[in-house]
């Protein structure tokens, strides 16, 4: 049987090929690029973004959008740093910040669903509010000296491969676990399939007996949860909380998902794709660094990639339409 090609997995295929091509290209061009260490560092540096992009994928799959995630992440970092600085126990702080992030997401989802307001506006309000609350907690950067955080932040697995040492930090496994669980949920649970159904055709989903309301509120809660979990991982990554951290990260998360084959209109996409979207952005960043270019070249390249992917998706969609007719 011929392997089926649909919008989702063609984009995913292209994303994976592109990632491999860039890695191979980089390895040929630069010394010390082509190593396990480079790959590991991609994960080390982008673990938090992978988590955020995974949550974002749920929202995008229903045809919604959540632009509050960067602020949510920053607020988590600042609040954790602040509370830890006040000598709160890490075992209290972590559940608390995760709960706050999830609740913020739930609240936004609730407003979107119950008052029928566009997700963009509500999450824009969330963006301003949470970013503002960061500054209310503290306008200066607070270092994290908590022993538990420190030990978690610095523990890693390291391998001796060839001449170089490759390190993988423990928190990367959080990100990988999130992706795996999300993949399972989307593929093998009723809730996951309802997310696709709602994004594919909301009216139909309702008529087929799906509780659209619950699904739509839940995806924003999930996005809020992963934003705050991403915030936790980010506070391990930097061991500090600062109110202006990660401005614009929400757009990185969205572009990762799109590069990975998620349609903004909903119904199509995978979390694996979103992860590759993050990795592609990471590898572009690495190449830009190796090339000694201004880091803004990363954005220029990603802009070009985004256009490329969106055009490809449209072409595939149009061809499918024609074939059907």
């Amino acid at each position: 049987m011929m392997k089926k090609l649909t919008i989702g997995n063609v984009s995913l295929l292209i994303a994976i090929c592109l990632f491999i091509a860039m890695f191979v290209g980089g390895s040929i061009k630069y010394d010390r690029f082509g190593s396990v260490s480079t790959i590991f560092n991609l994960f080390n540096d982008n673990a938090y973004l992978i988590i955020v992009a995974t949550g974002m994928t749920f929202v995008l799959l229903t045809g919604g959008i959540d632009i509050s995630v960067a602020s949510n992440l920053a607020f988590t970092c600042v609040l954790s740093a602040f509370l830890l600085d006040k000598r709160w126990s890490a075992l209290v702080v972590i559940p608390l910040v995760l709960f706050i992030g999830t609740f913020a997401g739930f609240l936004m989802g609730y407003c979107i669903q119950v008052f029928k307001i566009q997700p963009f506006i509500i999450t824009l309000a969330g963006l301003f509010f949470l970013r503002g609350m960061c500054a209310v907690v503290s306008t200066v950067s607070i270092p994290i000296n908590n022993a538990f955080y420190k030990s978690l932040a610095l523990s890693k697995i390291s391998f001796q491969i060839g001449g170089s040492r490759a390190k993988l930090y423990y928190y990367v496994f959080i990100a990988l676990a999130v992706v795996l669980i999300a993949w399972f949920v989307l593929k093998y649970t009723k809730f996951g399939r309802y997310v696709y159904a709602v994004g594919s055709n909301e009216v139909s989903a309702e008529l087929m007996g799906i509780d659209v309301k619950k699904v739509k509120i839940a995806v924003y809660a999930i996005s809020g949860f992963s934003a705050s979990l991403g915030g936790f991982v980010f506070s391990l990554y930097t061991l500090a909380g600062y109110s202006l951290q990660n401005m614009g990260l929400e757009l990185d998360a969205i572009s990762s998902a799109v590069i990975g084959g998620t349609l903004l209109t909903g119904g199509v996409g995978t979390v694996i794709g979103s992860m590759f979207g993050v990795l592609i952005q990471g590898i572009i960043q690495t190449i830009v660094t190796y090339q000694n270019l201004n880091t803004w070249w990363t954005k220029v390249t990603i802009a070009a990639l985004l256009c490329f992917f969106i055009v490809i998706q449209r072409i595939i969609a149009i061809r499918a339409e024609k074939k059907k007719a």
């Binding site: 399972f184 009723k190 139909s204 008529l207 499918a320």
Partner: protein
Amino acid sequence: MATKLLRMEHVNKSFPGVVALNDVEFSLEAGSIHALLGENGAGKSTLIKVLTGVEKMDGGEVYLDGNEIHVTSPFDAQKKGISTVYQEVNLCPDLSVAENIFIGREPKKHGHIDWKKINEDSKELIKEFDLNLDVTKKLGAFPVAVQQMIAIARAVDIKAKILILDEPTSSLSQAEVEKLFDIMRELKKRGLGIVFVTHFLDQVYEVTDTITVLRNGGYVGTYKTDELEKPALIGKMLGKDFDSLAEISVTQREAGENPEKFIDVENAGTAKIKNVSFSLNKGEVSGLSGLLGSGRTETARLLFGADKMTEGHIKIHDKNVSIKNPLDAIRCDIAFCSENRKTEGIIGELSIMDNIIIALQAKRGLMHVVSKKEAAEIADKYIKELNIKTPSRDQKIKNLSGGNQQKVLLARWLATDPELLIMDEPTRGIDIGAKAEIQRIVVDLAKTGMSCLFISSELEEMQRCCNTMYVLRDKKIVDKLSGDNITEANIMKSIAGEGEN
């Protein structure tokens, strides 16, 4: 008498400004196919939406197997055994065929969805429908007809007691329709009650046992299919008693002296309708008659360039013209009041004045602005002439009643000084007084030399206004009547296709 499978009594439902259902009753027996018929706006869809929990009824009772039920949502309806296939396919195009059949009731194994079982079971199920396709493919990849069959397969598989098919055949080919009918008969044998909504009357006679007719939100009656002749059925749908029709005398106006031909359409066609040929004289009111879906609106859209013309010619004053889009049509002095007043007519947030001058502005082009003063003069002139009831020309059009909105739309097109005015259902959903006024306006306009193409489901008003009448059936012009021959009896005969076979 045996207990009916379903009984609906005294059902009432109003939407803002419209009574959609007024004391309607409906009952369905197990093991029967029951047609629900009526023209556009008769209340069929609303009745079904009430039954399936999409809309809440304002009053009335619903009994299933003799017990009163309150359906709260489509899901609730499904749980109670009422399954529906809607006119537009209501499935998810991005999910696989198998998943579309099973979503909402997925089989599970070890706590997760059992994809293997879903795929195998769906394959079995669709075999019953003579479909053999890859159920793991996305639904959106298949033609609409196949999607429709899959929707039916899903509906049937939900252990339904009642299956509602809302115009399921409009996208199916003849062979597919036959297949569907076989399935319906099979389901009937299994004891299901099937509600079949359609506007193809031949299909009603082919497959149904009972007919219920609704008109203007009211209950007309329930009849045995084999005891109700087709012309009588059409009479009931359109609101005329067939037997008494022949006796109605008609006052027919003569067409003007020395008729001058305005437009000539030769074998024109779009993607939706083919082989349209007719002509219209100046000062003539011509009607397009036929049931819903017979091609009336398609003909109007063809003339106005709203659908792309793919074949044939249009001649105006004996000169070939090319009408590629509505603006071309406006510049050929054609005007079109579409049937969907709310979505294709009024611009709710704009004032009456702005709504009136918008077509004139388009006709002149953006470089020749209609001045404020001129606009105000035009607006005031038509408010007076057409007797539009409003405190001022600056009132937002959405605040007017339906009849007055229609008059504003008429004014919009009269302001462009057209030679041909096309009106698609201009009197639908407006009160009797306004109806009469609009009919009078049409006749008066014709006297000034304007040609009018008048589309209406109400034969009586067509008969009163038209000099000539084209009758359409199944997207074809099947008859032309003129003068004294325009009687409701003749029209209905043509619609029913009698005297041909």
